[in-house]
Every structure is written in structure tokens, then in C-alpha cells.
Amino acid sequence: MSTTFVDARNLLCPMPVIRAQDAVVQLQPGDTVQVLCTDPGVVHDIPAWCRVHGHEVFEINEQGYEIVIHIRVGAGN
């Protein structure tokens, strides 16, 4: 299992979703992705995208203006 970091700071939605998507397609089921963002919209958009594509958001951390979303890649990847 590997963890990939995606720096999506200062990008407006839907770009963080697109960056996360680009990272996820290269990974295996069970791998994790940490997406670092600043647009507060990602708190809704990334979990919604994950639900549709069978991935799991298992943690969301907010530190000041920065938000870290942890995604576990689903079995259908």
C-alpha cells in the first residue's frame, strides 16, 4: 500500500477534484491519497466524487486555511 500526496493549494474547484482524480487512476485499490487544498468547496466536492467512483474519504483535517483530505482508493479502480 502506498500513499500519494497531491498539492492542490490555491486551486479553485473543480481543479482539486481533477488533481485527485489524476492521482487515483494511477494507484491500486487500498492505496491512499492525501489531497492538500485551500478551497473550502472541496469538503463537499471530493467526498461526492469519491462516493460516485467507489473510493472512501476516511479523514478530513482542517488546519487554518488548509484542508487535507485522505482518500482510500476503492476496489473498482
Binding site: 479553485l12 474547484c13 473543480p14 481543479m15 477534484v17 481533477i18 489524476d22 466536492d45 461526492a48 466524487w49
Partner: protein
């Protein structure tokens, strides 16, 4: 656009305009991309209301749609982003985003579309994604055929730095008071 373009059909008129724009900015498209651009311009010439659409909402909405509907929505998003960034660059300023915001969404839409289609169409959309900046350069040149700059010097500098646009680099170099320093490498 010093001369009046008189062609027998709307398609021929758009094609002549695209040719003139390609010559003006010294960027050239292959036949498939040129045809795609001509038909895109023809299709949207009668739909000025398309500028009211919100690309982020459309893109995210496409992700929840099944197969063919998703492909159709992604194509619309890619096409709109190409028009917004090329024909209506001032729209980005009004919406408080950079022009490259539309470029990135448009490229991602065409790329995602090419990944999900069979080989024939896949290569067209993959090519559109790769040549997105060339297409935007040509559309900017088309806007300038009327004698008015498509981008201000600062917008051109930003766009060149973010996308490596060759046409914007030339615009920046042509400004007496600007010295272009660093840019990303154009990816095509």
C-alpha cells in the same frame, strides 16, 4: 480582417476565418482539429447564452452521470472552456478566476473523455487536450483580427507563465516595458 470575407456557406466563412487566424499567429492545426474548431464555432455562434454556464458545476455534475451522458457533458464542458478561454477571455476576469482555470478544466474534460471512448474518437479528444493552448492561441488571434487585443499585457504575461502560450510570449516581448523571465514549457 482587412478584407470582407465572402464565402458561399457559413462553414466556409468560419474556415476562412480560422485559416486567417492561424496565419496571423503562425500556429497551424491538422485537418481533424481545424474541422473540430470550425464546427464548434458554427455551433456556438447562435448560442450566446452559453457564457452563462458554470463550468465547475457542469464538470462535477458530469461525474455522477452514466456512460454516454457523462461523455456528452464532458464534451460540452471541454468545448465551452475552449470558447471561454479563447473567444471570451474577459469572462474569466468577471468571474474572478484566471484564464488558465478554464484551460485546465477544458483539458481535463477532453482527456477524461478520450480515456473513456473507443480508439477513433479517443485520439481526437486526446489531441484536443494536448493542443488546447494552440487552439486558444488561434482563437485569440481571431479576436485580434478586428484590431483589438484579446488580452491586456498583464493577462498575456500571466497566461504565458501559466501555460507557455507562444502567442502570449510574443505579445509580452512586443511590449516595450516587459521582460518575460520564466514560463512553464508548453506541453504540445
Amino acid at each position: 480582417m482587412a478584407e470582407l470575407i465572402l464565402e458561399p456557406t457559413p462553414q466556409a466563412q468560419w474556415q476562412a476565418l480560422v485559416h486567417e487566424a492561424q496565419s496571423a499567429c503562425d500556429r497551424h492545426l491538422d485537418e481533424a482539429l481545424e474541422s473540430y474548431l470550425v464546427f464548434l464555432l458554427m455551433r456556438f455562434a447562435s448560442k450566446p447564452h452559453c457564457t452563462a454556464r458554470i463550468m465547475a458545476v457542469d464538470y462535477l455534475g458530469s461525474q455522477a452521470l452514466p456512460g454516454e451522458q457523462r461523455a456528452e457533458r464532458l464534451r460540452e464542458v471541454g468545448d465551452h472552456c475552449l470558447l471561454f478561454s479563447g473567444m471570451f477571455p474577459q469572462l474569466a476576469e468577471r468571474r474572478l478566476v484566471r484564464i488558465s482555470y478554464f484551460v485546465n478544466i477544458g483539458r481535463a474534460s477532453y482527456r477524461q473523455l478520450s480515456d473513456g471512448l473507443d480508439r477513433g474518437w479517443s485520439s481526437v479528444y486526446s489531441h484536443l487536450s494536448e493542443a488546447f493552448i494552440v487552439l486558444v492561441d488561434i482563437l485569440h488571434a481571431m479576436r485580434e483580427l478586428g484590431g483589438v487585443k484579446a488580452l491586456t499585457p498583464l493577462q498575456a504575461m500571466d497566461f504565458w507563465q501559466e501555460t507557455g502560450s507562444r502567442r502570449c510570449y510574443r505579445q509580452v516581448c512586443a511590449e516595450d516595458r516587459c521582460i518575460p523571465l520564466v514560463a512553464v514549457t508548453e506541453k504540445h
